[in-house]
C-alpha cells in the first residue's frame, strides 16, 4: 500500500472525509477486509481509557493579590498544595489528603470540584518579603477566576497493568481494590484492546507533542511518563507482557468535563483520580493497522500477589480477565474490573466523532518516546 502522511490524513480530516473507526471496530473490519484494504481505507483509529490514575494533578497560577503574597504554604479546601515554586504558582496532586477529613476528601476531589465549576477555599501563608509583604490570604477561587489552571499528569495511560490478587490469609485493601484472602478474587485495570499504548505498542505515532483527548478537552503528550519502561519483555506481537510504557499528559482544566474527571477513594489506601484519555492513531501503513487490530486474547499480563508474599502468581490474557473467571490451580477465581470500559468506549466514540467532523486534528510527534530505557530501583543506604 502507499504510505500515508500525517499531513495527508489531516487534509482529509479538515475536509470531513477521514475514515475513522474505534480500536474495537478495527478488529472486525481488518478481519473482513484484510490488512491491505483496511489500511488503505482507514485513516485514524481512536482509543480510550478511563481508570484511576494516581499520578495526576493540576498546576495553578492564582494571579496576584493586592498587596501581593509569596505563598509558601497553600491549602485548597484544606488539602495541601505544593507551594515551593514561584509566588502564586502551585501544584495540587490528586492523592494529597485533606488535613481535616483525611482520605475522605483529597486533591482529586478538589480537582473534580474545580472541573465542576464549584468554588474552592484558598488559604495560604507566607513569611512576607519586601516585595511580597502579605503574610496570609483567604479567598474563594474557581477554575474561571484563577489566572491559569491546567492538568499536568506525570504518569497516565499505563501500557499494560498486572492483575491483582491476595494470597495471604487476611483481606487487604489496595489501590487495586479490596482483595479477599487466599486468592479468592482478581482485579484488573485496563481497557485492553481499546487502550492507547496497547494499540501503538512501539510508540510509532504516539510521542511528545501528540494531541490527545484528556478529561473532555484537547491536550498533549508532554513527555514520557514516570516509570516509562519500554524495555519490558514483549510478545511476538511486540506488545509488552507487563508494566511498560507510560505518558505524561497536559491539558487545560477549563475545557474539561466532570464526566471524565472523577475523584476516587480506595478503602484504607487513599485518594486517586479517574482520568478519561483518548488517543488517535493515524494509520500510516499496514504495520500500524495490524497493531491497532489487536484483540484482548492477544494481550497478556501478570497476576500479581499484592500481599507481597508471592510476587507473580500467574499469567492471563485480557480475554480471560474479561470473561469473569480465571482458572488458577484448578479453581475458578472471579475477576472484577477497576477501570470503566463503558466510559472508555464513550471516549473513543467521542474522539471518533470529533475527528470525523474536523474538530480534532492529529499531530506528528516532535520527538518519539524512548524505546529502551529501564527502571532503576531505589537503594536503601545508611
Amino acid at each position: 500500500m502507499g504510505y500515508k502522511s500525517f499531513d495527508e490524513i489531516n487534509e482529509k480530516i479538515k475536509k470531513g472525509k477521514a475514515v475513522v473507526v474505534t480500536a474495537e471496530e478495527v478488529i472486525n473490519i481488518t478481519k473482513e477486509k484484510g490488512v491491505k484494504k483496511a489500511a488503505e481505507e482507514i485513516d485514524v483509529v481512536t482509543t480510550g481509557t478511563f481508570g484511576p490514575m494516581c499520578s495526576s494533578g493540576v498546576f495553578i497560577n492564582f494571579g496576584h493579590s493586592e498587596p501581593p503574597i509569596k505563598m509558601n504554604r497553600i491549602w485548597l479546601n484544606d488539602v495541601p498544595a505544593y507551594a515551593g515554586i514561584a509566588a502564586v504558582d502551585a501544584y495540587l496532586g490528586a492523592t494529597e489528603m485533606s488535613d481535616s477529613k483525611g482520605m475522605e476528601y483529597g486533591g482529586a476531589h478538589v480537582i473534580e470540584d474545580l472541573v465542576s465549576d464549584r468554588d474552592i477555599r484558598l488559604y495560604a501563608e507566607s513569611y512576607g518579603t519586601d516585595c511580597y509583604p502579605r503574610k496570609e490570604i483567604s479567598t474563594i477561587i474557581n477554575r474561571n477566576n484563577v489566572n491559569q489552571i491546567y492538568m499536568y499528569n506525570p504518569r497516565n495511560a499505563y501500557q499494560n497493568y498486572p492483575a491483582a490478587t491476595n494470597m495471604s490469609d487476611r483481606i487487604i485493601y489496595t489501590y487495586m481494590g479490596t482483595l479477599l484472602p487466599k486468592g479468592a478474587n482478581i482485579t484488573y485495570s485496563t481497557s485492553g484492546e481499546l487502550s492507547p499504548l496497547l494499540n501503538d505498542p512501539e510508540y510509532r505515532t504516539i510521542g511528545i507533542g501528540t494531541r490527545v483527548f484528556i478529561g473532555g478537552t484537547q491536550g498533549y503528550v508532554a513527555w514520557e511518563g514516570t516509570q516509562h519502561n519500554p524495555g519490558q519483555k514483549r510478545g511476538e506481537n511486540k506488545v509488552p507482557v507487563s508494566l511498560a510504557g507510560t505518558l505524561a499528559l497536559v491539558g487545560d482544566l477549563r475545557g474539561m468535563n466532570q464526566r471524565f474527571v472523577r475523584a476516587a477513594v480506595y478503602e484504607k489506601y487513599g485518594v486517586s483520580l479517574f482520568v478519561g484519555i483518548g488517543i488517535p492513531i493515524p494509520i500510516l501503513d499496514e504495520d500500524i493497522l495490524i497493531k491497532t487490530a489487536i484483540k484482548n486474547s492477544d494481550i497478556y499480563t501478570d497476576i500479581f500477589d499484592k500481599s507481597g508474599n508471592e510476587g507473580v502468581v500467574g499469567k492471563v490474557s485480557y480475554e480471560q480477565l474479561r470473561s469473569g473467571f480465571v482458572e488458577m490451580n484448578g479453581r475458578k477465581i472471579p475477576t472484577a474490573p477497576l477501570s470503566s470500559l463503558k466510559t472508555a468506549r464513550e471516549i473513543a466514540g467521542i474522539l471518533k466523532q470529533q475527528i470525523e467532523r474536523g474538530e480534532f486534528l492529529i499531530s506528528q510527534p516532535v520527538q518519539t518516546l524512548p524505546m529502551n530505557n529501564n527502571i532503576n530501583k531505589l537503594d536503601v543506604r545508611p
Partner: protein
C-alpha cells in the same frame, strides 16, 4: 402481602428439623433462599426472602424463635446512586452474592436487588462512594 429479608442462625446441633418445610406448609410463606451456609456440627446461617401476609410472617417467625433459632430481620438496604456511577466494577470484586455484576455487552453495572445480602462490602469498596447503606424506613 409483605416481603422481608431474614438471616437465621442455627446452632451446631439444630439440623434435625426441616424448618423451611414448616414455614411453607404450616404458615403459607414463600421462601427464597439467598444464601445458605449450613453443615453438620457447625454454626450455620441462612438468608431468605420471606413473602406472606403480615400475620403469617409474624407467626412463622414466632415458630422459628420457639424452635430456638435466632433470626435477624434486615432493616437496611443498599442504595445505588446510579447517575453518579462510572461503572468501573470495583464493587463486583467483593459482592458475595452476585447481586452486583457487570453486563458483559455494555459493561454497565447491574444491581440485582433480590440477590443482595445487605452485607455492606460494596459501600466500602466503591471508590466513587455511590453505594450507601440506608434504613428501609428512610426509603430507597
Amino acid at each position: 402481602m409483605n416481603k422481608i429479608k431474614v438471616t437465621m442462625y442455627f446452632r451446631a446441633n439444630e439440623l434435625t428439623m426441616p424448618l423451611t418445610y414448616h414455614l411453607v406448609k404450616d404458615y403459607d410463606l414463600k421462601l427464597n433462599i439467598l444464601h445458605a451456609d449450613i453443615s453438620l456440627n457447625k454454626v450455620g446461617k441462612l438468608v431468605v426472602d420471606i413473602t406472606g401476609t403480615d400475620e403469617n410472617i409474624k407467626e412463622g417467625l414466632d415458630f422459628v424463635k420457639q424452635k430456638g433459632v435466632e433470626y435477624k430481620i434486615f432493616n437496611k438496604s443498599i442504595i445505588w446512586k446510579e447517575g453518579e456511577c462510572v461503572h468501573c466494577g470495583a464493587c463486583t470484586a467483593v459482592c458475595p452474592s452476585g447481586a452486583l455484576a457487570m453486563d458483559k455487552d455494555t459493561w454497565e453495572l447491574t444491581f440485582y436487588r433480590d440477590k443482595c445480602l445487605v452485607c455492606g462490602l460494596c459501600v466500602k469498596a466503591c471508590p466513587l462512594k455511590v453505594m450507601t447503606l440506608a434504613d428501609n424506613g428512610n426509603g430507597s
